[in-house]
């Protein structure tokens, strides 16, 4: 009878050094790229397999995924706690909406809103970038409240009614696959950015030690501004996308949900990675929508679920899954 023993696949794959992998077989390659591949395939087949109610929610989830990646990126790699999700979404949404209402086609207004919106968001946040501590969180949180009141009080940009009758995506598949493509590019792009030795490395330095960055002859504010621009661009795209999902732009784009949910998604999904916030948002947004039949009690159930995740998966779902995945043992013949 052949003798069997348990073996962990990752032992042979991971050499005990940062970012060096020794790969010797197809099985090991699959071990490394498998999780990413599953995620990509899932994203690609979801739009065609979901019922129409959930297709809408998937689009909304995509926006939250982008916001959460932005939040996680700033929090885990730059050391900035951003509550600016609503600012980014509102800014992108209104710019795209206003452009579209004067006749700029949607496929142009969305990219313009992404870049110009991110630029404006970065500029208005610039004064607090040299400061450490809670100032960035507070100021980024206050701007959208300020903007919403301003629009309501002055009646500009459609006032409380918003601007209706804007372009919408031609059909639900274009809508969803645009989002899937953007999410895939952003996810892997950001992962590449933070793990390699260029801007990402300097930004991790910013998080670890701001004084040392200054002593290295690097302009701290400039690097923080670049990071905020990247996060803001993702949020602004999300806002512009929502505008053309609803064909309407209004004050609800400055809603506090856009600031807070990314934080919850990052805590639930796991900090310190790009994929943690993705998983967090992909769980929390559908849960939140699925609880809608409970009416007012929705928030209560939602809070209970959040507490459950925080208590039982306090390191984050991704870290938990990763540990289980890497500890996975299989029987081999000796």
């Amino acid at each position: 009878m052949p003798e069997l023993r348990k073996e962990r696949l990752d032992r042979g794959v991971k050499v005990r050094a940062e970012s060096i992998y020794a790969i010797s077989s197809m099985k090991e390659i699959m071990f490394l790229i498998g999780p990413g591949l599953v995620l990509v395939i899932l994203l690609l087949i979801l739009p065609v397999s979901l019922p129409s109610f959930w297709q809408r929610i998937m689009a909304l989830t995509g926006v939250y995924v982008l916001l959460s990646i932005g939040f996680g990126f700033l929090a885990s790699y730059v050391g900035l706690v951003s509550l600016g999700g609503a600012l980014f979404v509102g800014m992108g949404g209104y710019i795209s909406g206003l452009l579209n209402s004067v006749g700029v086609p949607m496929f142009l207004s969305i990219p313009v809103a992404t870049i110009a919106g991110a630029l404006i968001c970065t500029l208005v946040l610039l004064p607090v970038l040299p400061l450490r501590g809670v100032y960035f969180a507070i100021v980024s949180f206050v701007y959208p409240l300020f903007a919403a009141r301003l629009i309501a009080a002055l009646g500009i940009f459609g006032g409380t009614d918003g601007i209706a009758g804007l372009d919408v995506m031609p059909n639900v598949y274009v809508l969803l696959y645009v989002m899937v493509a953007v999410v895939i590019v952003v996810m892997f792009g950001m992962s590449r950015l933070v793990n390699y030795e260029d801007l990402g490395l300097v930004l991790r330095g910013v998080k670890d030690n701001e004084q040392a960055i200054k002593a290295s002859g690097l302009n701290l504010t400039w690097y923080k501004a670049q990071a905020v621009f990247i996060a803001a661009a993702m949020g602004c795209f999300g806002g512009a996308y929502l505008t053309h999902l609803y064909g309407w732009v209004g004050m609800s784009l400055f809603a506090t949900d856009f600031s807070i949910l990314p934080l919850a998604a990052t805590v639930v999904g796991g900090t310190g990675t790009i994929y943690g916030p993705v998983i967090g948002a992909m769980l929390l947004v559908p849960i939140s929508e699925a609880l809608r039949p409970f009416g007012t009690l929705r928030i209560v159930f939602y809070a209970v679920i959040l507490v459950f995740f925080v208590v039982f998966f306090s390191e984050g779902i991704l870290d938990y899954l990763k540990r289980k995945y890497e500890q996975f043992e299989h029987w081999v013949r000796v």
């Binding site: 940062e18 670890d208 040392a212």
Partner: protein, 257 residues
């Protein structure tokens, strides 16, 4: 009025924290290629003086000239970019990064790009080279370990490496010998001498006078923010005010009636 040889001139620098004069009208100058010691009892304002020169805290008054340029109002990163690097007394590594990756951010500074004239190549390799220059070569694995896990001696060297990556003309070292064992100090002294002979001007804030005066013969002495002496080791040790600052003068003894 400026001398070509003088690389750093500090003119009447002042800083008060509340009612405490941390640095009180300190002036000195330093020749290119020279080594200047800055000594003084604890709390005499040595680190504050460095922070003022390198722009990390705002000055209440006075001016700093580096390479004949008035850098008094410059931001820290601009001063570092101009060739005036510094180490921190409390080491500031990027704790979560591998040791060699700590040296990569300064290699992205405009100064590093300028001095390498576009021939920087693989920054990781350059970083490992710099680490080996200052004594990381004894254990080949150390450059790849997380900076947060390194012992003190390596962290002190890492601070120096971050400066060296900028290819600086002047390095201000804030207590590179403090907290090190005698054998580590013994290996640091030749390193500092090597930097000096490579043409780098050094300002060394130190408590360890024996090692300091192996490297240089000139020092200034601070006491309660004031400069009380400036000269060779001989002059400093014979100076009455220095003796009083370190050991207490006659009148500071408590006499019983």
């Amino acid at each position: 009025m400026t001398n070509d040889d003088i690389i750093l001139r500090v003119d009447n620098l002042e800083k008060a924290f509340g009612g405490v004069k941390a640095v009180d009208k300190v002036s000195f100058d330093l020749k290119k290629g020279g080594v200047l010691g800055v000594i003084g009892p604890n709390g005499s304002g040595k680190t504050t003086l460095i922070n003022l020169i390198t722009g990390f805290i705002a000055k209440d008054g006075g001016k700093v000239f580096f390479k004949d340029k008035d850098i008094s109002k410059w931001q820290p990163h601009k001063i570092a970019d101009f060739g005036l690097a510094r180490t921190f007394q409390v080491m500031r590594p990027y704790a979560t990064l591998a040791a060699y990756k700590n040296i990569i951010p300064p290699l992205y500074s405009p100064r590093a790009k300028r001095t390498a004239k576009g021939k920087l190549g693989d920054r990781s390799a350059v970083a490992v080279d710099i680490l080996e220059e200052v004594g990381f070569e004894r254990d080949a694995r150390v450059p790849y370990k997380q900076a947060g896990t390194l012992p003190l001696g390596y962290l002190k060297r890492l601070e120096l490496c971050r400066c060296l990556a900028l290819d600086p003309e002047l390095i201000i070292c804030d207590e590179v010998f403090s907290g090190l064992s005698m054998s580590e100090i013994a290996s640091m002294v030749p390193l500092m001498e090597r930097l000096h002979s490579a043409g780098i001007t050094l300002v060394m804030v130190e408590h360890r006078l024996r090692e300091l005066f192996q490297i240089t013969d000139r020092a200034i002495v601070l006491s309660f923010g004031e400069k009380i002496a400036d000269g060779s080791s001989q002059e400093i040790f014979e100076n009455e005010r220095v003796k009083q600052a370190y050991f207490g003068g006659e009148d500071s003894y408590v006499t019983s009636e």
